[in-house]
Amino acid sequence: MTLADLTRGQWGVVEMVSAEAVLRQRLFDLGLVPGTLVQVRFIGRKGNLAAYYVRGSVLALRRSTAQQVLIRSEGDSR
């Protein structure tokens, strides 16, 4: 499953980022490396953009980007 499959408040652990090189490096730089714990903070209009809690910061990603972050779901608690 991917980051885009999580609903509000749910946690996941990043397993792999399947994006092309530039985007993958950008996501890595922001802390979304494999093994990172992520929580969905809120989802924007039309489910297009969602905000994720990543290592103490809040990042907004488009759905198309979140779909390229493969995760393991941790459910509602970490």
Partner: protein, 615 residues
Amino acid sequence: MKSSYLVALAGNPNTGKSTVFNALTGLKQHTGNWPGKTVLLKRGTLRHQGNTYEIVDLPGTYSLSASSPEEEAAREFITLGDPDVVVVVVDATCLERNLHLTLQILQLTHQVVVCLNLMDEAEKLNLRLDPSRLEAELGVPVVPTAAVTGEGLQDLKDAIARTAQGQLTPQPNPVNTDEEQPTAALYRRAEEIAALVVGNPPEPGTGFTARLDNLVTSRAFGIPFMLVLLGGILWLTISGANYPSEILAKAFFKVEAYLDLLFTKLNFPTWLHGVLVLGMYRGLAWVVSVMLPPMAIFFSLFTLLEDLGLLPRIAFNLDPYFQRAGANGKQALTMAMGFGCNAAGVTAARIIDSPRERLVAILTNNFMPCNGRFPILIVMGTIAAGSVARPGAGFTPALIVLGAIVVSVLAALIASKLLTATILRGESSFFILELPPYRLPQVGVVVVRSFLDRTLAVLWRAVVVAAPCGALTWVLANVSVSGATLLAHLSSWLHPLGSAMGLDGVILLGFILGLPANEIIIPIIFMGYLSANSLMEVQGLAAIQEILTNHGWTWLTALNFMVFAIFHWPCATTLLTIKKETGSTKWTLLSALLPTAFGVILCVLLARIVKLWAV
């Protein structure tokens, strides 16, 4: 031993790096609250214990992996600029991500001092940080600071000095990045260190930021909230500006009376009095009394919102619409900057990575009415609402201006869609936006700073242009060729087009002569109207309304004037900025043609519809 040293200031965006820079160098400048604001390398000087330190403010970046121009610039300066010390400004409330950049910098140089900033906020969040533990883990000096209050800055200066002079020799502990992906390895280490240093890690979804975000980014209330906020700002601007505008106008005309006396006493020729007093001075008086009060209020309020951290949330809420228009959500940020000044909005488009999407943002920025055009909307809105006689009753005009802004945002989206569907087709690039914590702005500082840095700068530019344009307009209105003034010739030549657009020749001439700065459009139009009559003093909006009605204005004229004020060519400064940013005359021309086409078509359509209605 040398006495002057080079110091680089690095760090993530939103760490208070600019505040640290200001505090060290004493330079006045703006601190931003959104990622990538600092694109150029700013420099300043610190004098400390007889030595000089040149401080270079590197762009705020999340890493040095060189995947953006900012990261490349920061990396290059650290490796090739040969700084004596690199100060890494670290956000104490978001340690892990900030330590990643720190560890990356430590791989390039050992001469590092860590400025553990925002300690005041970390305290409020009860994170219980241990700076000496961080120092031990990193192997470099760590100075806890709260740059906003000035706490710890003296220690920071000392640490910089001692490291630069070799009294302190940082010995960073190396991180083994051979076995796995380097970024992942650095983050693993950052995680370890943060776990040791932070006594009480933050709980996501709690605190002020999370609670406010629940409202601001909510699907049901997000956009209404933004509209109410903008409406409130406009209301405060309009009702707050009315009174000081009137006082300024009265003061200026009092001075004009003295100037008249002086010119008569000195026996100066009438034409000189005309050019200097009726042209230059009146143009100036107009610009200052009409522009200064709303600008000072609007810029202050806008800077407050900016410093609070609301702009990234606005981009968050609007991104779906930008995505549908094939554009980037960060375009919302550049458009917000365009409210202040389109030239600034065009420059701000640098935060958009994709060249195609950046071009879309540049070409459509002028659809946002800038501060030079705001007074046109405000004056027209106030007249249309008929609330001239009641100072403080700015509610209806605020609604009218708010409506005008909504229309301009929609038009910018339509124009973006037009561009991305035709000449700027391409894949939508990725869009990642940090939503930094809200920070309560220092109101007093913001008001003073926005007045000094923004209001005066914009006003000065308008004044410099207004004086010669005022003189030119007076000459045009008073030099006659074959029985009519030059102004009459020009405006009657423009009149057919003007009246087809529901305007008139003088208004179009005002827009054309107003190319150097939008601020002077209204003064030119009035000088055009008044020079035909015997001169009268213009005091306040009631007088304006009377003059306009005398010159055949209807509500359609006022409406189309607003429409064309929003949709016409950019001012000269913005055009030059677009030329500089795109490096292309073709794109610059298009940036002028696109809004003008919108304006002409819309005005003609409105005029036609109203005419049909009337028959």
